[in-house]
Structures are given as structure tokens and as C-alpha cells.
């Protein structure tokens, strides 16, 4: 049990704990936006921990260095793709008309969309008038 292995195991433990947290957030939060808030971040960090930790652990156990390279590649891809998919998903959820939670305090995006729609409407009216 050398240092690399120990670090790796610790990272894996932390990562799995964050997995657990993200799932708990999925359960406890009241609407889909808050669920996404709590779950995406924790799942991404958890994956980073588990995957890179596994790579370190493997190198510590005497496997080849290629392990850590491969795991870093997996982690990088997760780090790149997860936020984009979360963004696309939350945008889709908002646009498909799922209301915000009752306790929400401010909704600038709705105002922005309304303003844009109004502007488009006005433009159309002007176009009709000419």
C-alpha cells in the first residue's frame, strides 16, 4: 500500500460520496431546475474523483502508466460534455414550459423572452402597417 494507491483510494471514496450526494440532491430538491443544480455538479466532480482515483490506484498497484492517461482522457471528456448537456437540458426544460418552483424569487429569463416576443410582435405589426 504505497502513497499513490492510498491517494487513489481516497479519491475514489470522495468521488463515490459525491455520487451519493448528487443522488440525494435529486431526491430532495423541489423542482427540476434545482435538481439539476445539485446533481450535475456533484456527479461530475464525483466522476472526476472516481475515475482519476482509479487511475492513480492502478498505477500504485503496479499496472502500467497508460492507466492514468486513459482515465484522464475519460475524465476530460466527462468534464467537457456534462455541463453542455446539463445546459441543453435545462434550456429544453424551461422552453417546454415547466414552471419554476413556487419559492423562486426572480425570473429574468421569462421577462427577457416576453420582451423579445413583444418586440417581434411590434415589428410584425409595423410591417403589416406599411
Amino acid at each position: 500500500m504505497n502513497v499513490l494507491s492510498a491517494t487513489g483510494e481516497a479519491l475514489v471514496l470522495i468521488g463515490t460520496f459525491f455520487y451519493f450526494l448528487s443522488a440525494l440532491g435529486l431526491i430532495r430538491m423541489p423542482d427540476v431546475y434545482n435538481r439539476m443544480q445539485t446533481s450535475t455538479k456533484s456527479a461530475t466532480l464525483g466522476s472526476l474523483g472516481v475515475i482519476i482515483g482509479t487511475g492513480l490506484w492502478a498505477v500504485g498497484m503496479g499496472h502500467s502508466v497508460a492507466w492514468i492517461v486513459q482515465t484522464v482522457v475519460v475524465a476530460t471528456f466527462i468534464l467537457l460534455t456534462n455541463p453542455i448537456s446539463a445546459h441543453a437540458l435545462i434550456r429544453g426544460a424551461y422552453r417546454s414550459g415547466i414552471p419554476l418552483w413556487n419559492g423562486s424569487v426572480v425570473d429574468k429569463y421569462g421577462e427577457h423572452l416576453e420582451a423579445k416576443a413583444e418586440a417581434a410582435e411590434n415589428e410584425k405589426d409595423e410591417g403589416d402597417g406599411e
Partner: protein, 177 residues
């Protein structure tokens, strides 16, 4: 800034793709390297127009140095964010006050906007809902008083931006322009 010439963009794409190939195969076997190089030449020949707009300019030492410095900063912010999330999830009273706020950014390039949006998504209590030009709409799990109590739209945007986008912009402005 404008677009770099075609050769520079092509060369940059080839370099990045070749790097990815080496990481994917995780080996320094000569055959793998030769094949990977040929493959990157081929793939880059039809993907470079969409892949980059600034070409080799991305490899300016200052940019690389800032990018290096950005990684630990970002990781630290991310860990902080997760501790924050842990606090909110585990707290029995579930302390959330969500809302969608509006900020502005000074970044111009699309790649910069993408990195900023990704960074925002992964850091404290915020997730990017939409990007429209320079306007960012961000779902915030705990809208602080200073933003909530803002009198005017401008003040609101200013306060929100100071909290959310500024910390990353100082790095990303250099890296992506």
C-alpha cells in the same frame, strides 16, 4: 482579432487532434504515432473551419500559461461549489432561494462563451440557462440580497455579474479573447 490564415488554423487543428490521439491510445508505439498523424491530417482537412478561428495564435505562451493557471483555480472553485451543494442538500431545512438572474459578459469569441458557460455550470449554485449574445441567463440556487434588492435592471445585472462571471472572465479574457 479576426481570423488567422488557413494554414495556421489547419496546423493548430492537426496538433490538437494528434495530441488527443496520443492520449487515446496511451502508447508511444511508432506505428500508432504514424497512423495517428496521418489520421489527424485527414480529419483536420475538413474539420478545421469549424474547429478553430484563430489557429496557432492559441498557442501563444501567455495564453498557455494562463490556461495552466486556470485549471487549479477552476478545480478549487468546483470543489467549493460541491461543498456548497453538500451543505444545501444535507441541511435539514433545505436552504434554497432559487431564481433566474441576468448577467453580461465582456467575452467576444464563441469558444470563450462556451468555456464561461461551462465554468458557471460547474461552480457555486449556478447553472447556465441560456446565452443570447452577451446576455447570460443563469439559474441561481441562492439569489443573494444585493441582487434581489436591486432597484434597477442595470444594478441587478452589475451585481449578478460581479458575483458570477467576473472571477472567471479575468482568465478567460486572456485565454480566449
Amino acid at each position: 482579432m479576426g481570423e488567422a490564415n488557413r494554414f495556421s488554423r489547419y496546423a493548430y487543428t492537426v496538433i490538437v487532434l494528434f495530441l488527443i490521439w496520443v492520449l487515446l491510445t496511451a502508447s508511444l508505439d511508432r506505428q500508432e504515432l504514424i497512423f495517428g498523424f496521418l489520421l489527424s491530417l485527414f480529419v483536420a482537412s475538413f474539420t478545421y473551419p469549424m474547429f478553430t478561428s484563430r489557429g496557432l495564435g492559441n498557442l501563444h505562451p501567455r495564453r498557455v500559461a494562463y490556461a495552466m493557471a486556470y485549471v487549479p483555480y477552476f478545480l478549487w472553485a468546483m470543489i467549493m461549489a460541491n461543498l456548497d451543494v453538500a451543505y444545501r442538500v444535507l441541511h435539514p431545512k433545505r436552504p434554497i432561494r432559487p431564481g433566474i438572474v441576468h448577467c453580461k459578459t465582456v467575452l467576444k469569441s464563441n469558444t470563450g462563451k462556451l468555456s464561461l458557460a461551462n465554468s458557471i455550470t460547474l461552480t457555486p449554485g449556478t447553472i447556465t440557462l441560456d446565452v443570447d449574445g452577451e446576455d447570460y441567463f443563469i439559474h441561481w440556487i441562492w439569489v443573494p440580497d444585493e441582487v434581489l434588492g436591486a432597484k434597477t435592471e442595470g444594478e441587478h445585472v452589475e451585481n449578478a455579474s460581479r458575483n458570477i462571471t467576473r472571477p472567471f472572465e479575468k482568465f478567460l479574457k486572456v485565454i480566449f479573447g
